[in-house]
Structure formats: structure tokens, C-alpha cells
């Protein structure tokens, strides 16, 4: 169970297992980059980069969950996301939260 509230409504947190996180840096291939560059001139949504963010977010969350389950947690509370722009066309995503056990 992954939530971004401090507690899970209706559940009692029994153990705090520390901060867990997962991060990833991903990029799209050159062809998509060129197409996005052309789309950027016209404006509007850049679908290639929306997809890119979606993929990297899923990967970061999956890594965070793997980290938490390695510690024996069954939930992560207070999840936050941080992004940074490393270079153009690549995105770095970091997801972190507190691993806990709940009843």
C-alpha cells in the first residue's frame, strides 16, 4: 500500500522502518527527441516526454517498493516525488517515502 498521507486512514502503523527511495534517469531515443523538438515549435503537449515521465515514475515507484519490501514493510506512507533536469531530453525522478508496517 503506497499513500502520500502521513497515516493510512483506518489502519494503525506498528513499526517505522525508515526512509526508502527509488530513482531513475531515463531518456527517449533520438527520433522521438527530434520529433518533440519540432512539436515544441508549434506548442502543446509533448506526448513523447509525457510518456517518458510516466515510465520513469513507474520505475522509480517500483524501485522504492522493492526497497521497502526488502526491509519487510507492507506499506509506504508520506510519499514525495522530486524531479531534476539533468540534460535536455532526459528526466531524473526520485520517489521517496517512509516504509512502515501496518495492521
Amino acid at each position: 500500500m503506497v499513500v502520500n498521507t502521513e497515516t493510512i486512514a483506518g489502519k494503525v502503523i506498528t513499526k517505522n522502518l525508515g526512509v526508502v527511495g527509488g530513482s531513475t534517469v531515463r531518456a527517449k531515443h533520438l527520433g522521438r527527441d527530434i520529433f518533440a523538438g519540432l512539436k515544441n515549435v508549434v506548442g502543446g503537449e509533448l506526448t513523447a516526454y509525457t510518456e517518458l515521465l510516466e515510465e520513469s515514475r513507474n520505475e522509480a515507484i517500483a524501485r522504492m517498493v522493492a526497497d521497502a519490501s526488502a526491509r519487510g514493510a507492507n506499506a509506504i506512507v508520506n510519499v514525495r516525488f522530486a524531479t531534476s533536469a539533468v540534460t535536455s531530453g532526459a528526466s531524473e525522478l526520485f520517489a521517496y517515502g517512509t516504509a512502515v508496517t501496518v495492521e
Binding site: 502520500n4 486512514a9 483506518g10 508549434v42 506548442g43 502543446g44 524531479t83 540534460t87 531530453g89
Partner: protein, 175 residues
């Protein structure tokens, strides 16, 4: 001295040819796209704004109210059966025409409405997608919604000028 005939020119020529082709396409396509953006980007913004308003109305009808809130869940009376993370994002870019207008606008200072509109459309789209995600996952409510904005490119870098809006929250199912 290395004899020139020893060097394998194939890969270099291939890369050079690719650069040349891309350069030619860029020189031809850029003015056309720029003009297209100048004519249609404002209209497309209005269109997507009304489209978002329409979708917002249907999802508010589905939930009976706006599901998104900033509350942490302490107000909930009665139980919560299940909860989980919902998130959505969009990368939204102003057209180069709008950037040009904005830079001219910036010389005089004051409000830059044209960029404000681009970013608010991106934000409205991201929050609407969050509602749709919550609807698809079967949540009754979305708590503790955060909306983050970040740039796709480092500020010093020439490249894609776009804003990414990222909305997330905790979906709950009342028991």
C-alpha cells in the same frame, strides 16, 4: 603520417549525411511550423481549455463533487476500506511564437498573460487526468493532492522549452 586511405570513412560519412538531412529538414520545416504555431496555438489553447472543462464536468458528475482535496483525511467519519497512490502528469510547451510574444512582453514588464494561459492549461489537464485516474481505479476521493511543476531542461541549456506538471494524491475507498 597516417595514409588517408587506411581510415574507414563509412561511419563518418553516414553521420555527416544524417546531420545534413536533419539540417535541411529543420530549415524547411521550422518556418512552416512557426507560422502554424502563430496562427493556431492560441485557438488550440482555447479548444483544449473547453475540452478540459467538459471532461471536468463529467467526472464531477461521476463523483458527485470534486474528488480532489488537500485534506489529510482526519475529517473522514466512518471507515476507509482501501487506499493507494494516484498520479498523473503532462509535459506542456508554449509554441515558439508565444515565447517570442512573451519575450517582447517581458521588455515592458508586467503581466505575461500568454505564458500564464499555457501553464494553466497544462495544470488543468494534469489535475483532470488525476480525476480520471481516480475514477478508473475506483477511488471515492483523492486526499492530500500535491501539484508540482518542473522544467524539462536545465535553465542554462538551449533545448526543449516545456513545463512538466505532475499531480499526485492518495485515493481512498470508503468502507
Amino acid at each position: 603520417m597516417v595514409d588517408a586511405s587506411v581510415i574507414c570513412w563509412g561511419p563518418f560519412l553516414l553521420i555527416a549525411a544524417l546531420f545534413a538531412i536533419f539540417g535541411i529538414i529543420w530549415t524547411i520545416a521550422y518556418p512552416l511550423l512557426f507560422l502554424y504555431g502563430a496562427v493556431f496555438s492560441g485557438r488550440r489553447l482555447n479548444k483544449s481549455m473547453s475540452n478540459i472543462a467538459l471532461r471536468e464536468r463529467t467526472s464531477i458528475e461521476h463523483f458527485g463533487k470534486d474528488p480532489l482535496s488537500n485534506l489529510k483525511g482526519a475529517h473522514i467519519v466512518g471507515g476507509v476500506r482501501n487506499s493507494g497512490l494516484v498520479y498523473s502528469s503532462i509535459v506542456h510547451a508554449p509554441s515558439h511564437w508565444q515565447l517570442l510574444i512573451a519575450s517582447i512582453n517581458g521588455l515592458f514588464g508586467g503581466r505575461i498573460d500568454i505564458l500564464h494561459r499555457v501553464i494553466s492549461v497544462g495544470r488543468a489537464e494534469a489535475t483532470q487526468r488525476l480525476r480520471e485516474q481516480a475514477q478508473a481505479a475506483g477511488w471515492d476521493d483523492v486526499l492530500n493532492v500535491r501539484i508540482d511543476t518542473a522544467e524539462m531542461t536545465p535553465p542554462s541549456n538551449q533545448g526543449t522549452k516545456a513545463v512538466e506538471v505532475f499531480a499526485y494524491g492518495t485515493g481512498v475507498k470508503y468502507g
